[in-house]
Symmetry: C2
Subunit: 245 residues, 2 copies
DNA sequence: ACATATGGTGACCGGGTGGTCATCACGATG
DNA sequence: CATCGTGATGACCACCCGGTCACCATATGT
């Protein structure tokens, strides 16, 4: 068991940021086991001993670095939820989705680490983090769906857990396809610009709204989540937390 | 550059199978880099030199082992597609989904390796395999959707690429949730039995069919993919390839 | 001028890795 | 019996890893 001195907190902010950024990048690129403390210190130009003075262990370094990222992400999503509390259901979905896109653009390393953790057993904090994310997702989507059903915006006979599962699957995959070109099943999400992303998001949300077989799509297609409501919600989401991102 | 003798092909089948199974399990558990040839040969009780005589490289071993798995999977899916060629659209989806579930149950190691490869850069064959899978998925779903639209079973104004994306997302996630408990967003897919899986699949397909907001769901809800058609299609899928699986 | 404290350093350690190769065991052939 | 070919073997190699620790640089207090 190595000593866990708290020396890192006393460092000046420039150096702290440099260390965190380099470590984050290394973990994002190589996962946990394949990441190398030697490479991190080489890239930083500091001695290996320093890292172990700061964090005690490679795992300690990872915990510190990653928890930072999760903290930032949580702050952002909470802001979006609050800001769109009284908007239309699909507008809220759209806002959450675009907030996710923006977060990935701002902090690609955090998201890449998250993706690696999903399917890589033996990752420190795996159980903790993933259970947290799952709970967060359920607590985020389920009340939104239930509210919208009470408000008559969704069909009253909707199977809520199944609907939440489908929503979660599509939203998640949308972000994954943006980040990992291979997850793209035909839409060009990985390479497109913001406008293309928004068009694709609208198309997917339209499918979710009216279904594949749903007939009589007159009203469903007309008040699609576009221009007014949706853009407004996305804008509102954008200024939620500027300092942090 | 190590020699690539073809000694492995001359071995008797028992030993070949033992070697392939042990290697597959090691890669499934540890991914590629973290997998250890030492552990494989220890578990097998053979000398390390033998493995390198057979496959030349750790990467050569992986290629051989994984391509075997992909081959089996492809055979299975093609059989299902043929067997359900003239069934209802959602019944075909259901059959493909349940065939995926069965494959994962029969060959969990192959699927675990595939999941690891998705988000782990620097995996041998990553580009090749994933591009193959993506192309396969697009070629599988898109014609099914287009046929169903021509036949009037899906709304005529459906955005095909978006619909395929949504379908791909939900089907994939369904299998992932079955395999990786954390991907479960509320349905209990990871721990349930076959009947529970089928119920969940029907619920998700119902959401996909009628959408979240689709009103006038009389006909959509009534001829849901249940009992008759769906079960029939799944049965048909089951006896597609017995010898291979 | 000296003592103290604090952060920084990098050679070093034990261990595990992918990969090599001289050697062996053994059956078939002359 | 001798020769040959083929597969099996495991000690060995160079390399990299996470982690340690005795030592150094500097600034401050007295």
């Amino acid at each position: 068991m190595p000593k866990a001195s708290r020396t890192f907190e006393n460092l000046d902010e420039d150096k702290r940021k440099r260390v965190l950024d380099a470590s984050m990048e290394e973990f994002a690129e190589h996962g946990f086991h394949q990441a190398s403390v030697n490479r991190i210190v080489d890239r930083l130009g500091i001695a290996k001993g320093s890292i172990f003075k700061y964090f005690g262990t490679k795992e300690g370094l990872f915990r510190y670095v990653f928890e930072r990222g999760v903290e930032v992400f949580g702050r952002r999503l909470r802001a979006v939820r609050e800001a769109t509390a009284d908007a239309d259901f699909f507008a809220r979905l759209r806002a959450a989705l675009m907030a996710g896109v923006e977060f990935i653009e701002a902090h690609p390393a955090v998201y890449r680490i998250y993706l690696k953790m999903l399917f890589q057993e033996r990752f420190p904090l795996r159980e903790t983090i993933l259970a947290e994310v799952r709970a967060h997702s359920a607590r985020y989507l389920t009340p939104m769906v239930e509210d919208a059903m009470r408000g008559g915006r969704l069909r009253p006979d909707l199977d809520v857990p199944a609907a939440v599962f489908v929503l979660d699957a599509v939203l998640d995959r949308f972000l994954q396809a943006r980040a990992v070109e291979f997850m793209d099943a035909g839409l060009g999400l990985a390479g497109t610009d913001r406008a293309g992303l928004e068009r694709a998001a609208d198309a997917c949300l339209a499918v979710l709204r009216a279904g594949l077989a749903g007939m009589g799509n007159g009203p469903a297609a007309r008040n699609e989540s576009q221009s007014t409501t949706a853009t407004n919600a996305a804008d509102v989401a954008e200024n939620g937390q500027d300092g942090a991102c």
